[in-house]
């Protein structure tokens, strides 16, 4: 088994943990085997084919999770405010981070050119996905990347809208700002969850 296949199968195993417990008990083993078979076949045509297969799993994940949670509801993850915030951030991070990462990689593969902007965009997108596991570090990195993207968006918007009417300038600047805003908000939500979690656990430890 090649290294790419091993790494992607291990990552897929982590993604399976997002499914409701009962659903995992019923299907996770089979899903892992089917994914590994599909990955082995795809890897015969190259590592990129394997990466594309993995990205397809990522992009279909939100819908699959939604369907699975409807069939096998696990109310415990929405039991309190902290859990709700954590799971909102997690679902969003897989959807938005996964999609933006896929989008940036796809564009880079299609054009064969990794621009600075795409490279910058990949950082918070990847951090957003990793924040699932490392909430504080991932959240901080996502916020930092989001702030850089906001800055680049505003500068780009300012340059593009010079000489335009004031309203057009404001709209272009806002659009540039919004580009990184989602990363700031959800990175911040992860950091908030990590801090809250720590403050809940500290009195317990004492």
């Amino acid at each position: 088994m090649s290294r790419t296949v091993r790494i992607l199968t291990a990552l897929y195993g982590y993604l399976l943990r997002l499914y409701p417990l009962d659903y995992r008990a019923a299907f996770a083993d089979e899903m892992r085997v089917v994914f590994a078979d599909a990955l082995r076949d795809a890897a015969r045509t190259g590592s990129w084919a394997a990466a594309r297969l993995f990205l397809r799993e990522l992009t279909s994940l939100p819908a699959s999770l939604w369907h699975a949670s409807r069939l096998y509801p696990s109310p415990s993850i929405y039991a309190d405010r902290l859990s709700r915030a954590r799971w909102s951030a997690r679902y969003f991070s897989i959807f938005w981070g996964g999609y933006m990462l896929y989008f940036a990689v796809q564009r880079t593969l299609d054009s064969g050119d990794l621009t600075l902007l795409r490279a910058v965009q990949m950082v918070p997108s990847l951090a957003l996905v990793l924040a699932w596991r490392w909430e504080r570090t991932g959240g901080m990195l996502t916020m930092l990347g989001g702030a850089v993207l906001c800055g680049l968006g505003v500068i780009g918007g300012y340059n593009a809208a010079q000489g335009e009417p004031l309203l057009t300038q404001l709209a272009t600047l806002s659009a540039g700002l919004m580009w990184g805003a989602a990363y700031l908000v959800f990175g911040g939500l992860y950091v908030w969850v990590a801090n809250k979690d720590r403050s809940v656990e500290t009195p317990r430890a004492n």
């Binding site: 089979e30 089917v34 599909a38 369907h67």
Partner: protein, 114 residues
């Protein structure tokens, strides 16, 4: 009481999954590949989508899950999926519905040409 017609039309991926199981029981990966082949690569399912659909079909009773006795990597028996009688009737009804739709379209085209 629910009638078969209430479940129609089926989504394309559901139709192809049922069609894939029409001839013989299959395991997950065989369904994935067969759906791709039957749809001429128009429907390419991810593992998540396939098992989401299978869990729904099992829930509706259109598909039955069987143990093969042949172990997977995990050591558990490999699962096969088979079309139930209800699933067979749903697939038949959907095929007939699509034939009616296609026949109506062909008739209209023929009228326009004549």
């Amino acid at each position: 009481m629910e009638t078969i017609q209430e479940h129609l039309p089926l989504s394309e991926s559901t139709f192809f999954i049922l069609l894939s199981l029409a001839r013989e029981p299959r395991h997950g990966y065989a369904i994935l590949k067969d759906v791709e082949a039957l749809s001429q690569r128009r429907v390419v399912l991810s593992t998540g989508t396939l098992y989401g659909a299978l869990s729904r079909l099992l829930d509706h009773g259109w598909v039955i899950r069987l143990d093969t006795g042949e172990p997977e990597e995990s050591g558990r028996p490999r699962k096969l999926y088979r079309l139930s009688d209800l699933g067979q009737r749903i697939l038949q009804a959907e095929t007939e519905r699509m034939e009616h739709v296609a026949a109506a379209a062909r008739l209209r085209f023929a009228e326009e040409l004549s």
